[in-house]
Each structure stands twice: as structure tokens, then as C-alpha cells.
């Protein structure tokens, strides 16, 4: 049962990627391709390539097939065995002309080559390619806004690995701080969010004030570079620590565990579950990337969720002074016994009162 549900989930995750193989370009992708094409200029010659007609991935024109108009493939090869009554264009791939191929217009390969195994081309044959490193690198740079699900997944996995490494370091060296910050999130979630937002807004002004303060003192000017580095370190540390605390809290909630004494193993498990949950969200958003507006909405949602988590975590770090101040810690506990334990039941008739315990006199008083 569990296996079948996993398979179904995996299939659902992979569905968008498969669907992306033969879809057209989104408007954002078209814009970035247009920018890239316009940057080519003289290499492209008089050609006016319309990316709106392009299809993701490889494309083929079968032997008996006749296509009226231009045929464009984007990041894939264009295999021509039939007739193209227009231009045959591959952007980021090769155009392969088989002996039965007939192209009445031009053949153009941008970021690839034209492999002519035969066939007939009425127009010109043009290819723009780069030796390694060359135009492919340029192509990758230009097309970077259009990240593939695979690239997004790799990026997400990379971030997960980095955060997991940080988490293990924190567990070894600052576990009590992490627990304290998590407790603060649990008890003061709203306040932590508010403080976190204010903290984000205050980052730049605080830095400016700090630098101004150092500048006024003149001698402090020498310290400015060090302060800038220290400030960046502190900020990055606070954000990372807060996010980990938030992940830990989420992991605990997902396992429906109340706060209390937890072993290191429990904390590790909860932390990894929390981080895994965030990773899963980003992975789903990555896979849904090619789904157009749905993918964009999903990604926006995940961004907002992560941002809220970071804000709450940062707020909790500030409130708990990086986990050094616990919300449940008593302010002062002078008496170990119950406040009223000295009292005895007193009948109306009255009994002799017991002596109320008092704190031990200080050494000076004793003398």
C-alpha cells in the first residue's frame, strides 16, 4: 500500500516534467530567447526567428509528413525526413537533414550544427555554434531564467544538503540554543513573526547607524571593515539558526510531539523531518515549474511559506537572544518550597503559628 502510494506520488511529481517535453515556450521563455537572439545580431543574418512557434525538446518531421510554415525546436534536435514548407530551425540543438528531407526555406541551427545526410534545401543553411567553451555557455547564461525542473531539483537538493550540514553542526555545538529558540517559536509565534519582520526591515538602517557611529568616533573607522564582516556573519548565522529552529518545530508538530525532554536522537529526527518537509515543498515547486501559471503560483506559495519560516525563526532568535534566554525560565527563585507550605490549617479558635522560613542570612549579616 505504502509502495503503491509512493509510486503514484512519484508519477504525479514526474508528470509535469514529461508534459514539458513537447510544450511551447512560456512568454517569459520567449522573451529571454528573443533577447538572446537579438544579441546575436550579425550571426543571425536576415533571419527573423519567432520563438512563439518553438516547442521544447527534440522534434521530428516524419518521412511522409508535410509541415506548412516554420518548424522550431528549442533545446533539442530537429530531425527532418519529410517536407517543411518554411524554415527549419533548432535553437540549442542540431538540425538533421535526412536524404528524404526537403526544406523550401532556410535551415538554421543556433547553438548547434546542421548535419546534412542528404535532402534538399532551397534556401541557405546557417549554423551558429561555439567551440568549448563557446556559444553553449552563452546560451546557458542567457537561458538561465528558464530553469529546467532538473536544474531546480538539483538546486533544491544542494540547499537541503547545505542546511542538513549546518543542522548537524548546530546539534553538536549549540543544541540548547536551538531548543530554546524552538520553545520561543512555540510560545510566542505571533510575536516572533512580528519581531522577525521588524528585524528584516531594520537590517540595513542598523548597519548604517553602526557605520555612522564608528565614523563619528574617528578611531572606529578602522574597525568598519571588521564590523561589516561581523555583521554579515551574525545576520547569516541568525537567519540559519532561526530557520533550523522553525524546521525543528515543524518536524515536532508533524510527529505530534509536545515539548518536553527530548533526546538528541529525537531532536535530530524532528529537525530532519522539518527540513525534509521544506525540501519536499521546493521539490514539488521545481517539478511544477513547467506548468506555466500553476507552477508559478505554486512556487510563489513555497517562497512565501519559506519566507514566513525565516521571519519567525529570525524573530525567535532575537527574542531569545540567540537561544540564551528561555521563555519558561523563572526570573528569580529565592524560595525552594511552596509559598504557602509554611501555613498550617488554622481553626477559628487559633493555634500557635509556625515560624515562616526565611532565606539564610548573608555572611555579612551573620557577623
Amino acid at each position: 500500500m505504502r509502495i503503491s502510494s509512493t509510486v503514484v506520488a512519484l508519477a504525479l511529481c514526474l508528470a509535469p516534467a514529461t508534459a514539458a517535453a513537447q510544450r511551447g515556450l512560456t512568454s517569459a521563455e520567449q522573451d529571454s530567447v528573443r533577447d538572446w537572439l537579438s544579441a546575436l545580431g550579425p550571426e543571425l543574418g536576415p533571419h527573423r526567428v519567432d520563438p512563439a512557434a518553438a516547442v521544447h525538446g527534440s522534434r521530428a518531421v516524419a518521412t511522409a509528413e508535410r509541415v506548412s510554415g516554420d518548424v522550431l525546436s528549442f533545446r533539442g534536435n530537429l530531425d527532418v525526413r519529410g517536407e517543411v514548407a518554411g524554415d527549419a530551425v533548432a535553437i540549442g540543438g542540431d538540425v538533421i537533414l535526412h536524404p528524404s528531407a526537403r526544406v523550401t526555406g532556410d535551415v538554421l541551427a543556433i547553438g548547434g550544427s546542421v548535419r546534412q545526410e542528404g535532402g534538399r534545401v532551397d534556401g541557405e543553411i546557417r549554423s551558429i555554434a561555439g567551440h568549448a567553451p563557446g556559444i553553449e555557455a552563452l546560451f546557458a547564461e542567457r537561458a538561465s531564467p528558464v530553469r529546467s525542473p532538473r536544474e531546480m531539483l538539483s538546486l533544491t537538493a544542494g540547499w537541503f544538503a547545505v542546511l542538513a550540514a549546518i543542522a548537524f553542526a548546530v546539534l553538536m555545538l549549540a543544541r540548547s540554543n536551538l531548543v530554546a529558540i524552538t520553545e520561543r517559536i512555540r510560545t510566542d509565534f505571533g510575536k516572533a513573526l512580528l519581531i522577525g519582520l521588524v528585524g528584516q526591515l531594520a537590517v540595513a538602517p542598523l548597519l548604517v547607524l553602526l557605520v555612522l557611529g564608528l565614523t563619528i568616533t574617528l578611531i572606529g573607522i578602522l574597525l568598519i571593515p571588521f564590523v561589516l564582516v561581523a555583521y554579515a556573519l551574525a545576520l547569516a548565522g541568525a537567519v540559519a539558526l532561526g530557520f533550523l529552529a522553525m524546521a525543528y518545530a515543524n518536524g515536532r508538530s508533524l510527529r505530534r510531539r509536545e515539548s518536553g525532554d527530548e533526546t538528541v536522537g529525537d531532536i535530530t529526527t524532528h529537525l530532519m523531518i522539518g527540513l525534509g518537509a521544506y525540501f519536499a515543498l521546493w521539490a514539488v515547486a521545481a517539478l511544477a515549474g513547467p506548468l506555466g501559471i500553476v507552477g508559478s503560483l505554486l512556487r510563489a506559495m513555497v517562497v512565501v511559506i519559506t519566507w514566513v519560516a525565516v521571519s519567525v525563526g529570525l524573530g525567535a532568535v532575537i527574542l531569545s537572544r540567540a537561544g540564551t534566554r528561555s521563555p519558561t525560565a523563572p526570573v528569580a527563585q529565592e524560595l525552594e518550597e511552596d509559598e504557602y507550605s509554611w501555613q498550617t490549617p488554622t481553626p477559628v479558635s487559633g493555634v500557635a503559628a509556625a515560624r515562616r522560613p526565611t532565606p539564610a542570612p548573608r555572611a555579612a549579616e551573620r557577623r
Binding site: 545580431g41 550579425p42 550571426e43 543574418g45 536576415p46 550544427s113 546542421v114 534538399r120 534545401v121 532551397d122 534556401g123 541557405e124 543553411i125 546557417r126 549554423s127 551558429i128 555554434a129 561555439g130 567551440h131 567553451p133 563557446g134 556559444i135 555557455a137 552563452l138 547564461e141 544542494g158 547545505v162 550540514a165 549546518i166 553542526a169 548546530v170 555545538l173 549549540a174 540548547s176 540554543n177 536551538l178 530554546a180 554579515a232 556573519l233 551574525a234 547569516a236 548565522g237 541568525a238 537567519v239 540559519a240 539558526l241 537572544r321 540567540a322 537561544g323 540564551t324
Partner: protein, 299 residues
């Protein structure tokens, strides 16, 4: 370890770990060497007018081995050169080549990278031309090393201009069309022409300014040739096979002189076999502060 200290340590560790992926994010900028290929079949084009404008690097022109109108491969440094590759099928005009880009533009890594490659050729161009289509060819090479083989083509007009270049032009086999004009110009350049007689040219105009130009006629002749030779501050050598009749009209100005002919009377030299020879060259030599030398091959 106190809580505060461990918190700071954790923050430091967090930042250090977060900085690990940075080197991959700051991707190294790579040199932008690109390759542009352009070719076309002969269908629908009666005459090809090829204009080659090439700067910096190796220029090679040769007859095509397949039934193509032309095939051009340009390899160029995209940071420093701009390729030219356009074909107007209606007029049969091909514009091909590479020109130097604006070196003064650009900052930072891109500029540094470009400056580092200053002594690397801007571009290499290989152009193959149809053997059957009537062709007019204009070549303008600057700071280039040119190897131009036009033997076996069907050219009826050729203009080759070289500046600050070294160019080898040859007709290793006969031009299949009558060449109405072959115009050669070397400015601060060296140009060597082999098999000039095989060009099947009616008229040859050769000019050198502050450079060297060598015209070797070879043995494959198809008719008389009229040569207008001009040298200013340069040297022009005419290499003729034995038996070829020569008539040379010399215009020597300001330290200019014509060498290699026995005697110039009233500015005109005519070889003894001029009236009877089947292969004749009529040279109008104009020289200013330079020399025009006639050399008989095999002597």
C-alpha cells in the same frame, strides 16, 4: 561552552557552510570563440557576387568540392570580432567575413580577457565557391594571412585588396571563364600571385604601395594579357616564362625605376618576338620611389 558563545559559533558555522556553494554560483566567464557556418546550393542563382571583407586571422578561399554555390565557415572571437554573413538570394550577393569589434568598450573581466587575447587571431574564415556558377569576387583583407586558390573556378571579375597582410593568390588550373578584370592591390602588404596567366584575364591591374607584389605568370596561357602595374614606395616583380613576348611602357617618376629589361627607349621596351609570339604581355609600368623588376623564369 556558554550558550551565547555556542550560538555565535553556530552562526559562524552556518555562514561558512552557506558560503561553500558560492564558487559555483560565480561561474567563470569563458572565452567566447564561436563558429558560424553558412552555405547554399546553386539552385535559383545565376551569378554569384561574393564580397569578402576580412580582418585579422587566416583567410582561405578555394573551389567547392560539392555542388554548392558557396560554403563559408567563420571561427571568431566573439569578444573582439564581428562576423559578416549575409546572402541576398534575389541579387545573388554574398557578403562574408569578419571585422574587428570595438576594443575600447567593455569593463572588468570581459575586457581583461579580451586584452589578454590581443595576439590571438580575431577570426579564421574558410570559403568554398562554386566551380560552375559565374562569379564576381571582391576580397578585402586587413591584417590577415590569406591563401586564395581560384583555379578551376568560373570567375569573370576578381578584385583583391590587401592591407597589412600577407596574401598568396594562385590559379593552379585555368579559370573556366574569361576574366574581364583582375585587380590586385597591396598596401603595406606582401602579395604573391602564382599562375597569373591561368586566370584567363583580359586585363590585370596591379598596384603596390609601401609593400611587395610578385606576379608569376606560369605556363598555362589562354590569350594575351594587358597589365597595368603601379609601384609607389614599393617593389613589384613580374616573373615571365621564357618565350613570352613582352612590351613594357615605363613611366618612371621621382626615384622610380624599371629593372630587368635590356633597354628602354623613349620609355618603351619591346621584346624581339613581339610580332610572332603566341603568348604576349603588354605592361604599362608606373613607378614612383620604388622599383618594378621583370624576371624571366628559368634564368
Amino acid at each position: 561552552m556558554s550558550s551565547a558563545r555556542s550560538g555565535a559559533l553556530a552562526a559562524g558555522l552556518a555562514l561558512a557552510a552557506a558560503l561553500v556553494p558560492l564558487p559555483t554560483a560565480v561561474a567563470a566567464q569563458v572565452p567566447g570563440v564561436r563558429q558560424l557556418s553558412l552555405s547554399r546550393g546553386t539552385a535559383g542563382v545565376d551569378t554569384l557576387r561574393a564580397r569578402v571583407s576580412f580582418t585579422g586571422g587566416l583567410l582561405q578561399i578555394a573551389p567547392a568540392s560539392t555542388d554548392l554555390l558557396f560554403q563559408a565557415e567563420t571561427r571568431y572571437d566573439a569578444d573582439r570580432a564581428r562576423p559578416v554573413a549575409a546572402f541576398d538570394s534575389a541579387r545573388g550577393v554574398l557578403e562574408i567575413g569578419a571585422e574587428a569589434g570595438p576594443l575600447s568598450r567593455g569593463f572588468g573581466l570581459r575586457r581583461m580577457r579580451r586584452e589578454r587575447r590581443r595576439d590571438v587571431p580575431l577570426a579564421d574564415l574558410t570559403l568554398h565557391l562554386s566551380r560552375t556558377t559565374p562569379t564576381e569576387l571582391t576580397i578585402d583583407a586587413t591584417a590577415a594571412h590569406g591563401w586564395i586558390e581560384l583555379g578551376g573556378l568560373h570567375v569573370h571579375m576578381v578584385r583583391v585588396s590587401a592591407s597589412a597582410s600577407e596574401t598568396h593568390l594562385s590559379f593552379s588550373s585555368a579559370n573556366t571563364a574569361r576574366l574581364s578584370l583582375l585587380e590586385l592591390s597591396a598596401r603595406a602588404a606582401a602579395m604573391h600571385v602564382d599562375g597569373l596567366a591561368a586566370a584567363n584575364a583580359e586585363r590585370v591591374m596591379a598596384a603596390v604601395t609601401a609593400g611587395q607584389l610578385e606576379l608569376a605568370f606560369g605556363d598555362e596561357w589562354s590569350g594575351d594579357i594587358a597589365l597595368e602595374a603601379s609601384a609607389i614606395l614599393g617593389q613589384l616583380r613580374i616573373i615571365l616564362p621564357d618565350g613570352v613576348a613582352l612590351r613594357l611602357t615605363a613611366r618612371e617618376r621621382l626615384l622610380g625605376r624599371v629593372e630587368g629589361v635590356p633597354a628602354v627607349r623613349d620609355g618603351v621596351y619591346q621584346s624581339a618576338n613581339w610580332e610572332t609570339a603566341t603568348r604576349r604581355v603588354d605592361v604599362l609600368a608606373s613607378v614612383t620611389m620604388g622599383t618594378i623588376t621583370v624576371v624571366r623564369a628559368g634564368r
